[in-house]
């Protein structure tokens, strides 16, 4: 069964970058332009991997992550961030509350997206 990936980011360019990067891999990729839309899509579908932007208007990445974890308890979630200080405290608090996530730092390239996706859905890789 084809693995499904959800990319939640308010920036169209970032969403397109993920779609382009993953187009050569055997995965289905959906995108959402907001945290609220991403949560709605996750509730309707079952994803194997989620990439989540941290800095978004409306519901930010930390708030979205907390909501996502109510249904997607085990799904790997990568927070995509440029390490803005105003959000790091929220992430640390989420971690202390037992909420799992990993971090993918911006700016992110095509090959890095592919590598992280392959390893998140498969085996570790050396590079």
């Amino acid at each position: 069964m084809t693995k499904r990936i959800l990319v939640i980011d308010d920036d169209l360019g970032i969403r397109q970058s993920f779609v382009l990067a993953l187009s050569s891999l055997p995965y289905d990729v959906d995108t959402a332009e907001s945290g609220a839309k991403g949560i709605e899509m996750e509730e309707q579908n079952s994803y194997d991997l989620i990439f989540l932007d941290l800095k978004m208007p409306g519901m930010n990445g930390v708030e979205t992550l907390r909501q996502l974890r109510k249904t997607a308890k085990q799904t790997p979630v990568y927070i995509v961030t440029a390490f803005h200080k105003e959000f790091l405290r929220g992430l640390k608090e989420a971690a202390a509350d037992g909420i799992d996530f990993e971090v993918l730092s911006k700016p992110i390239g095509i090959e890095q997206i592919k590598l992280v996706t392959r390893t998140a859905l498969g085996n570790p890789e050396t590079f």
């Binding site: 971690a95 990993e102 971090v103 890095q112 590598l115 992280v116 890789e125």
Partner: protein
């Protein structure tokens, strides 16, 4: 056995981070016979160090010594895959 230096980059004190740290500490103690110097870095505390070392995702494990430098990304809880990835799998005759 040669000097071994390993750095582990994780994100926050999540359950998954704790599991990864415990797995690498176990490898250092049992498989590398306490010969490895392990440094754990939380990228939420020290994003500067992650940027300096071009760590773009967590968890990332970097073997600094012995050369060559090796970087491993992904699920780091499988002992054989970690040792193989870092080229630290000790042959029976060398153990």
């Amino acid at each position: 056995m040669e000097k071994i230096e390993i750095k582990l980059y994780v994100s926050g004190e999540t359950p998954r981070s704790k599991k990864t740290i415990a797995a690498i500490e176990k490898i250092c103690k049992e498989d590398l016979k306490d010969k490895a110097k392990l440094e754990v870095i939380d990228v939420l505390d020290r994003p500067d160090l992650a940027q300096k070392e071009t760590v773009f995702a967590t968890p990332t494990l970097i073997k600094k010594l012995p050369a060559p430098i090796k970087r491993l990304i992904g699920d780091l809880t499988n002992t054989d895959k970690v040792l193989l990835g870092l080229e630290l799998l000790v042959k029976e005759s060398e153990a």
